[in-house]
């Protein structure tokens, strides 16, 4: 069953038509990768799925985006609840300038969890799920900024998991990391897809090929091709996809 469905989704930044008629169905408990050259609209599209584009002035959106059957652009949709269900991890690790513990509990506290014991449990569970527990369990009260870049990014993943989302959107989550940290996060994603639906934007085609079940190729705001990952990388039907994945441009 598709947990995300977009129909004729168009997005304009002022006069600029940034996304053209995007139709995508994303399956539950899978990893879907969005690839394409810089400025192709893949990140913009990702941010329409939890309405993070709302914050940018002069953005206009037409068409529908359904998350678990609900049109998220209808009036009356609770954006805060939507973002709780659709978590997001960003390109640059962005922990809050607080302790590791407070970073994880930030989301749950927003949504009304106050019980100390319950918060402790969430912290342990989220950090374990993000494969960070063993490294930080003795320094939970230390500032998050003392962690390495890769650890910070896993902390951000743990922070997103702490509010118990169904979907995790990831915007080039490893582009600021070294290869070892990247490998750790890729390994983690493979485990996380048992529980969550993951949508990842990546600049790195090998990464898409390694970890994703389905891949969407974007070019100039258009969804050129969307298919099972092996098909996209071995037998693409569109010439432009083939040119891109074989490195002829981009």
């Amino acid at each position: 069953m598709s947990i995300i469905e977009t129909r004729n989704l168009n997005l304009y930044y002022g006069q600029h038509h940034a996304l053209l008629d995007i139709n995508v169905d994303i399956e539950e408990n899978s990893i879907t990768a969005f690839i394409g050259p810089s400025g192709c609209g893949k990140s913009t599209f990702l941010r329409t799925l939890n309405r993070m584009n709302d914050m940018i002035p002069n953005v206009k959106i037409t068409g529908t985006v359904k998350v678990a059957g609900e049109d998220i652009y209808q009036s009356g949709v609770d954006v805060e609840i939507l973002r709780k269900r659709v978590g997001m991890v960003f390109q640059q690790p962005n922990p809050f300038p607080k302790s590791i513990y407070d970073n994880i509990t930030f989301g749950p506290k927003l949504h009304g969890v106050t019980n100390r014991h319950e918060l402790d449990e969430i912290v342990e569970k989220s950090l374990k799920a993000a494969a960070l527990w063993d490294e930080v369990k003795d320094v939970l009260k230390k500032p998050a900024y003392g962690l390495s870049g890769g650890q910070q990014q896993r902390l951000c993943i743990a922070r997103a998991l702490a509010v118990n989302p169904q979907i995790l959107l990831m915007d080039e989550p490893t582009s600021a990391l070294d290869p070892i940290s990247t490998a750790k996060i890729e390994e983690l994603l493979d485990e996380l897809k048992e529980t969550y639906t993951i949508v990842i934007v990546t600049h790195n085609m090998q990464q898409a090929a390694r970890i994703s079940d389905k891949t969407a190729f974007f070019l100039n705001g258009e969804l050129v091709e969307y298919d099972a990952t092996p098909v996209i990388f071995q037998n693409p039907s569109d010439k432009r996809t083939e040119d891109y994945i074989t490195g002829r441009f981009g």
Binding site: N50, M52, M55, P57, E80, I81, L82, R83, K84, G87, M88, F90, Q92, N94, P95, F96, P97, K98, F106, G107, L110, H111, P143, Y145, C156, R159, A160, V163
Partner: protein, 284 residues
């Protein structure tokens, strides 16, 4: 050549400060040669111009504190709320209009504020509470609060704007509302700047002279009723230096002792603020 010129420029500031402190110190020492420091600290009467002279700093200290506290009650909450509005809510075009207005407000001469207090705020208070003195602490301190408000708002907003956008994004993505983002992410991250703005504003309130001289009266008394006249340390210094006090007399020396007290007070405040902002600083 260039480093030399730059160095002498910075030397001027340093030397001026040293000079001021030295003058304050020598005159204060001379003052305490004639008046016991115990009287200065413990007596609750300040009557240097009367035949029966008393030199207890307490009335002036209480007057100054009352003005400062009420002014802060006006300026800190409203200033911080303004800063949060401007940095987290206001559309760009509103911000572009409001920010310069704030800065103009910060540039209004204090004498204008003083007469604003005396001729507008005081009658207003007296129409509500008729038993209020013409010269009263409340009117002066409200206007001092209005005077320091733009400083709090403008400096706090600068500190909040400097908080990276990615921190806000992180909180929004967890389902935080705009208000929660402002209160739980932006304000804590900008806290050292916000505290700095508070302290600067408090120091200005403590050191404010014109408004209190005009509107708060010249009655040095220990009172906690803001509807009565009070005299602040600064207003006392103005009073003495305007009048026909003989140079070298004990009255004229007393203003240096008061000035020293003022100096110690603001210095302490600055040190406390530095400590607080270092202690609670969230580095990003």
């Amino acid at each position: 050549m260039v480093p030399g010129v730059l160095f002498s420029s910075s030397l001027i500031t340093v030397l001026t400060t040293v000079g001021i402190v030295l003058v304050l110190l020598t005159e204060t020492v001379a003052f305490f040669g004639e008046v016991s420091i115990i009287e200065f600290i413990t007596s609750d009467r300040w009557t240097p111009q009367f035949a029966d002279k008393h030199f207890g700093i307490l009335p002036l200290l209480v007057g100054t504190m009352m003005i400062t506290v009420i002014a802060s009650l006006v300026a800190l909450p409203i200033g911080l709320a303004t800063a949060i509005y401007l940095s987290e809510y206001a559309p760009e075009r509103v911000r572009k209009v409001v920010k310069p207005i704030l800065e103009v407000l910060a540039g209004v001469p204090t004498i204008v504020y003083g007469y604003f207090a005396l001729t507008f705020v005081t009658p207003l208070i007296r129409s509500l509470i008729p038993e209020t003195s013409i010269y009263n602490a409340l009117s002066a301190s409200i206007v001092v609060g209005i005077m320091i408000l733009p400083m709090v708002a403008s400096l706090s907003e600068d500190a909040m704007l400097a908080v990276p956008r990615k921190l806000r994004d992180g909180a929004f993505a967890l389902g935080a509302t705009r208000f929660e983002v402002a209160l739980k992410v932006v304000v804590p991250a900008a806290l050292s700047g916000i505290i700095a703005s508070f302290v600067l504003a408090l120091s200005r309130a403590i050191g404010e002279t014109m408004i209190v001289t005009i509107a708060a009266g010249a009655l040095a008394q220990v009172t906690f009723n803001p509807l009565e006249s009070v005299q602040t340390m600064t207003a006392f210094i103005v009073n003495i230096s305007l009048g026909d006090v003989e140079p070298g007399s004990i009255e004229s020396k007393s203003i240096f002792a008061v000035g020293m007290t003022l100096f110690v007070l603001t210095l302490t405040l600055n040190l406390i603020a530095q400590f607080i902002s270092r202690r609670y600083k969230e580095e990003y």
